[in-house]
């Protein structure tokens, strides 16, 4: 029986507490869009900001906490580092709550320059928001660098990236989780550094009144956001590479193909961000083409190596189906489906119609809600379940997975349908042109409530194991 790490239980608690709150904010937004909460409309954009930043942050730290625990098997662990990140995250959340609840700050999750300075909210709330981002960004940068140092203590960089496999060697044995985590952490450093530059420009304007270039800021902002969201998923995938074999009873090893695949992912994901700027016609056209080529290219390695690999791992395996392994399997499917939605939208000609419609939240909610969320919650559950071995109820398993699938995909379908029907994203209520968006929203609320129900069932059984594990630990 493995040792319980308090810090991982701590991260698990943070995720289990914040997720339902943020999810309720999501349901609130959908209800406003359905014209169901006429008097609360003024809270739509502040809560959209809280929901967006909160969700992106929660699932990034959740994925980091899981990957950190998984690679600790090979590299040793550094709990102090993790606590520093936790302190920074909690401080950031508090600042975020202050600026949104106290100042109605509402710049949206990626705070596109210069909106934070041009809003109906007071300037102190914008400053507080930027401080929240700074505190979290700094803590996460330290966390990523610290984990990289930990990996470097055990493996040389070229081994950690699996370059010896590419060169034809089969030794030393480096677990795929280590390779993928290294790739993800390098991407994290790049992303967070871009975020830091954005923040510095904001503070320079705040303090000295020097304005920034809107196009440059947009490139930096989307580089930051795009890479952060994608690498969070890669961390989740690293965890699956490590844990799914335990359930399938077969090994899943790194080799030449796996190494090539993840190294190319690192290069491609850094370029694909350009698909967010297709509708900025002043952006150099060569970058637009690069955006589409990189986005298309980024679909091949995960599909051919990771998804294909996971499917062969499970194919005719003596699979131990549990809540955790079921969630991992579904998570890979959600990642794939969301990825298809993303690649379609990364076609410039399609983006001209889909950009900033609900198709965008549709696809990223697919790989987050039906992908990363299941990976992270699945791993946390696996972690406490392996320790406590409380017998799992088949009913709870069916109920949880069923509600996650039906509630989640039903909710997502309303986003896709609205997006295909030209309903713009981030509209508190819908004008006559796109009034059908309100009907979709009402249906979305009902399905999201089913997902929430699934989450309640899941949380009840996860918490039972959490309490048992922490009293044993």
């Amino acid at each position: 029986m493995h040792e319980m790490k308090k810090v991982t239980l701590g991260w698990m608690a943070i995720v289990l507490v914040l997720f339902p709150i943020l999810l309720l904010l999501g349901i609130f937004m959908r209800a406003v869009q359905a014209n169901g909460l006429a008097n609360a409309e003024e809270w739509f954009y502040p809560f959209m900001t809280l929901h967006g930043v909160g969700m992106v942050g929660v699932w990034y730290v959740g994925a980091m906490a899981c990957a950190e625990r998984v690679i600790a098997r090979y590299t040793g662990s550094n709990d102090g580092l993790s606590y520093v990140a936790m302190g920074g995250t909690v401080a950031g959340v508090v600042l975020l709550l202050v600026c949104v609840l106290g100042g109605k700050f509402a710049s949206g999750w990626y705070f596109l320059y210069p909106l934070p300075f041009k809003g109906t909210w007071p300037i102190w709330s914008a400053t507080t928001f930027l401080l929240a981002m700074t505190v979290m960004g700094a803590a996460w940068l330290v966390w990523s660098l610290g984990l990289l140092v930990g990996i470097a203590r055990k493996y040389s960089l070229s081994h950690a990236l699996g370059w010896h496999y590419i060169g034809g060697a089969t030794e030393p044995d480096v677990p795929p989780a280590v390779i993928i985590t290294t790739v993800s952490l390098l991407a994290a450093v790049a992303s967070l550094l871009a975020g830091v530059v954005v923040l510095v420009f904001f503070f320079v304007e705040l303090l000295f009144g020097i304005r920034s270039d809107a196009l440059l800021m947009k490139n930096l902002t989307f580089f930051f956001g795009h890479v952060l969201v994608n690498l969070s998923l890669y961390l989740g995938v690293a965890v699956i590479y490590d844990v799914l074999p335990e359930y399938a009873g077969r090994p899943w090893k790194a080799n030449k193909i796996v190494a090539i695949s993840w190294n190319s992912v690192l290069a491609i994901v850094l370029m694909a961000y350009a698909h967010h700027l297709y509708m900025d016609f002043v952006q150099p056209t060569s970058l637009q083409y690069l955006g589409q080529i990189a986005s298309y290219a980024s679909s091949l390695p995960p599909a051919v190596v990771t998804i294909f690999g996971a499917l062969t791992l499970v194919f005719h395996a003596k699979m131990r189906w549990t809540l955790a392994s079921g969630m991992f399997f579904l998570a890979l499917m959600g990642w794939a489906i969301g990825g298809v939605g993303a690649v379609i939208d990364s076609t410039i000609a399609v983006n001209a119609k889909f950009h900033n419609t609900l198709w965008v939240p549709a696809h990223f909610h697919t790989y987050m809600l039906e992908g990363l969320v299941l990976m992270v919650l699945g791993y946390f559950y696996h972690y406490v379940q392996e320790h406590t071995r409380i017998p799992e109820s088949g009913l709870v398993r069916i109920l949880t997975l069923g509600l996650f699938v039906i509630g989640g995909y039903g909710f997502l379908a309303t986003f896709y349908l609205s997006g295909a029907n030209s309903v713009p994203r981030r509209f508190a209520t819908y004008p006559a042109e796109v009034a059908h968006g309100a009907t979709d929203s009402a249906v979305g609320v009902m399905f999201a409530a089913l997902f929430l129900l699934g989450l309640v069932v899941f949380t009840a059984s996860a918490l039972r194991r959490w309490f048992r594990a922490s009293s044993d630990g």
């Binding site: 014209n35 003024e42 954009y45 109605k104 949206g108 596109l112 210069p114 909106l115 041009k118 809003g119 109906t120 809107a214 196009l215 509708m279 900025d280 016609f281 002043v282 083409y289 589409q292 298309y296 091949l300 051919v304 294909f308 499917l311 062969t312 499970v314 194919f315 005719h316 395996a317 003596k318 699979m319 399997f329 499917m333 298809v340 939605g341 379609i344 076609t347 410039i348 000609a349 399609v350 001209a352 119609k353 889909f354 950009h355 900033n356 419609t357 295909a420 029907n421 030209s422 713009p424 981030r426 509209f427 508190a428 819908y430 004008p431 006559a432 042109e433 796109v434 009034a435 059908h436």
Partner: protein, 326 residues
């Protein structure tokens, strides 16, 4: 249904901009600068319903408030602060109007014609705002492709999950062979799709000249069409505002889109309610969007980049006409 009256109200608001041409100055300014947040007799939106406001407030106060609400709030004007608190602490923005323009709006508010706005339109037959399916051919193709690939993914996952009911060793060499086939066919599809779609872009090429250039300036929470380019709020007065934009069918129009404050989106909706073309409106840059209008009708413009509290209310319309008098 209890929302019906709300919807009628909102649709009337949306119809209203079409009547600028024949309305007074004050009405036009109201539609352009105030209607995103206020109605006259249709209930409150982001700000109060302004019906009867000329009776409850004196005209000097009103004139100053409409010109510089930010200063009055900063000075702690008692009424201003009370209103601010009442309206969720969303402050009314300074819209850069001068004293005459403020008087014109006040005159319009005092005339009490607000509630009857759309009905008061004379001359122009009411153009219906776009309402319909909202899907063009690109949207249809993309949705079908998405559904088809999703169905395949789901079936494969189901098939693999079911196979675990019958455990047996798998032949790794066979799997690798299949992977190679999968990779090569994937590569062919990706390269093929890139070759066919990559160069279909909305970016204006150097060759060819548009039939007409229209300058579009965005600012919280309006779109303003002008004859001349606009670089600052002052230019708005002199750049030749086009109150009622009409374009001949079959023409190619170049919209030169910029912003005076934060980033907005210039999203054109077809008469069927589908996104027709769009570009971003960025401060300090001008995006040139060329659009050929092959179908007559009323096109709406919605903001396609989140820009703050009244983002979803920011809109305008223009008309593409069949005849050649435009």
């Amino acid at each position: 249904m209890r929302h019906t009256s709300l919807w009628i109200g909102i649709s009337m608001m949306l119809l209203a901009p079409a009547v600028w041409a024949d309305a007074s100055d004050g009405q036009r300014i109201f539609q352009q600068s105030c209607a995103a947040c206020h109605t006259v007799g249709e209930g409150k939106r982001l700000g109060p319903d302004l019906e009867g406001v000329t009776k409850t407030r004196d005209s000097a106060w009103l004139n100053r408030w409409i010109r510089e609400p930010d200063k009055m709030i900063a000075e702690g004007d008692a009424i201003a602060v009370r209103l601010l608190n009442e309206y969720g602490r969303v402050p009314m923005p300074n819209l850069g109007l001068n004293a005459e323009q403020a008087d014109a709006v006040i005159a319009f508010l005092a005339s009490g014609s607000g509630a009857a706005l759309p009905a008061a339109a004379t001359g122009i037959a009411h153009p219906e705002p776009p309402t319909g399916e909202g899907r063009g051919s690109v949207q249809n193709t993309a949705s079908i492709a998405f559904l088809a690939i999703t169905a395949i993914i789901v079936l494969v996952f189901l098939y693999v999950a079911r196979s675990t009911g019958n455990p047996m060793p798998v032949d790794v060499q066979k799997a690798y062979k299949l992977r190679r086939v999968f990779f090569i066919s994937g590569l062919v599809i990706v390269v093929g799709l890139l070759a066919t779609t990559l160069f279909t872009t909305p970016y204006p090429d150097a060759a060819g000249t548009p039939d007409r250039v229209v300058h579009v300036t965005t600012l919280q929470f309006n779109f303003v069409f002008t004859q001349e380019p606009v670089a600052s709020a002052q230019d708005l007065q002199t750049a030749g505002r086009i109150g009622n934009l009409e374009l001949p069918v079959g023409s190619t129009v170049e919209f030169r889109v910029t912003s005076l404050d934060t980033t907005h989106g210039f999203g054109i909706y077809s008469p069927q309610g589908a996104v027709y073309a769009q570009t971003q409106a960025m401060p300090g840059y001008t995006n040139r969007l060329r659009v050929k209008f092959s179908e007559p009708g009323v096109y709406s413009v919605l903001c396609m980049e989140y820009c703050g509290a009244a983002h979803h209310l920011m809109k305008t319309v223009f008309t593409v006409r069949n005849d050649d008098h435009a």
